[in-house]
Amino acid sequence: MIDNIADEAFAADLLRGHTDTIVLGVLRRHDSYGFEIYKSIREATGGAYEIKEATLYASYRRLVRDGLAEAYWGDESQGGRRKYYRITDAGRAAFRTNVATWVATRGIIDDLLGTTVPASTKGNRA
């Protein structure tokens, strides 16, 4: 698995390390359900990288456990109910903190690697 990741244009494990924050980022816009969140992430990466759904389920449960998100079942009448997630105030605060941490860390790494160019933050292969 690690070998496959090494071929990617970006570090998948680095991305995966931020799964919770990424999910919170999606939920910050609107309440969402599992597959919709999965699609948002897939589309944001241009379809090049998909976080495994099992990883996402683990993330949802972590977020709910930590009080950063709430889960509720929608009452759709079609084909069974759908489980939605809603970001909590604590979740919004955690998102802001995590983003600030990321920006600061990114700055340090950019400085250390001598890659302090705004465009480099997009993750494209240089």
């Binding site: 495994k52 099992a54 084909g79």
Partner: protein, 305 residues
């Protein structure tokens, strides 16, 4: 997007999901996770199907993409959620199903239509009303269609205990039931009004409907709500069909056999003893089916046979 998805008809996802969770203790949390995964899988399969992938391939691919369900469940078991204070009954209350007035009105009106059709049919067959044979056939069809719709509609309603059936399955149940009832009504018309050769057609209708119902029954998956499962486990004896899907499949086959025999016996009785005796075979078939069901579900020696 999820209402009209053709994949809601597919049982592949339900089967694969049941396989993935086979042997996992179904705690309320696990049931909850399973239902959540089910909905997301159906959405993914619909997306794959829309891109032109064949239904069962799409189901398998979506399941593979999901990753390791068991690891997820194990992980969950080792790091338990903080005490979840909500009881099963509280969950049931929170997720209670709102009454659907439209459904009630539809059911009542269609039942009245079906009852009226049946009364007219019986009166005409007894000679009280004089109606043409074509008219009687049409009335038999109305009777079947009305009750078929009632059946499908009912199965699409979420209840306090069960999630609604996927649209495709509900429609299949409705069509089979409608076909069966229309077929039986038509059989009565044939016996009293038409050339008996028409019995072949009515027989085919009835047997096809029974076969379809048996198939649907045997391939039914368990979709009880998590909190209901918890309460049931505490209060009732285990349902054999839930624990042993093979028994459910066997019951489906027995049912098809019983009804086929009953129908053949009905025809034989009709030709030999007289047509008034033919329904006796169908009643006997029904009783045999119920006895089989009772024995298979709750029989003391069911597990030893």
């Amino acid at each position: 997007m999820n209402a009209t998805d053709p994949i809601r008809r597919s049982t592949d996802v339900h089967r694969l999901l049941d396989d993935a969770f086979a042997g996992v203790e179904l705690t309320p949390e696990v049931q909850d996770l399973k239902e959540e995964i089910r909905d997301n899988l159906l959405s993914r399969v619909a997306e794959l199907e829309a891109s032109g992938i064949e239904s069962s391939d799409a189901a398998r691919r979506a399941m593979n993409e999901l990753g390791d369900v068991r690891a997820l469940v194990d992980d969950d078991a080792t790091t338990p959620m903080p005490v979840r204070v909500e009881s099963a009954s509280a969950a049931a209350l929170r997720n209670r199903v709102r009454p659907n007035p439209g459904f009630v009105v539809r059911t009542v009106l269609l039942s009245i239509v079906a009852a009226a059709a049946l009364v007219v049919l019986v009166l005409a067959l007894l000679g009280v009303l004089s109606l043409g044979t074509g008219m009687l056939t049409a009335i038999a069809a109305v009777f079947g269609v009305a009750l078929g719709i009632v059946t499908a509609d009912a199965l699409r309603q979420e209840t306090t205990a069960n999630h609604p059936l996927p649209a495709g399955r509900a429609v299949a149940f409705g069509v089979s039931t409608g076909l069966l009832l229309a077929g039986l009504a038509f059989t009565a018309t044939v016996i009293l009004r038409l050339d008996l050769a028409w019995l072949i057609l009515s027989g085919l209708l009835v047997v096809a409907a029974i076969a379809a119902l048996s198939y649907l029954g045997a391939t039914q998956t368990n979709r009880h709500k998590p909190w209901v499962v918890v309460e049931q486990r505490a209060t009732t004896v285990a349902n054999r069909f839930d624990e042993d899907p093979a028994a459910a499949a066997r019951f489906g086959i027995y049912t098809a056999a019983i009804w086929t025999v009953a129908f053949v016996v009905a025809v034989v009785l009709g030709f030999t003893v007289g047509w008034w005796w033919a329904p006796v075979a169908l009643v006997a078939g029904f009783v045999a089916m119920l006895v089989t069901l009772a024995r298979m579900l709750f029989g003391a020696d069911a597990r030893r046979t």
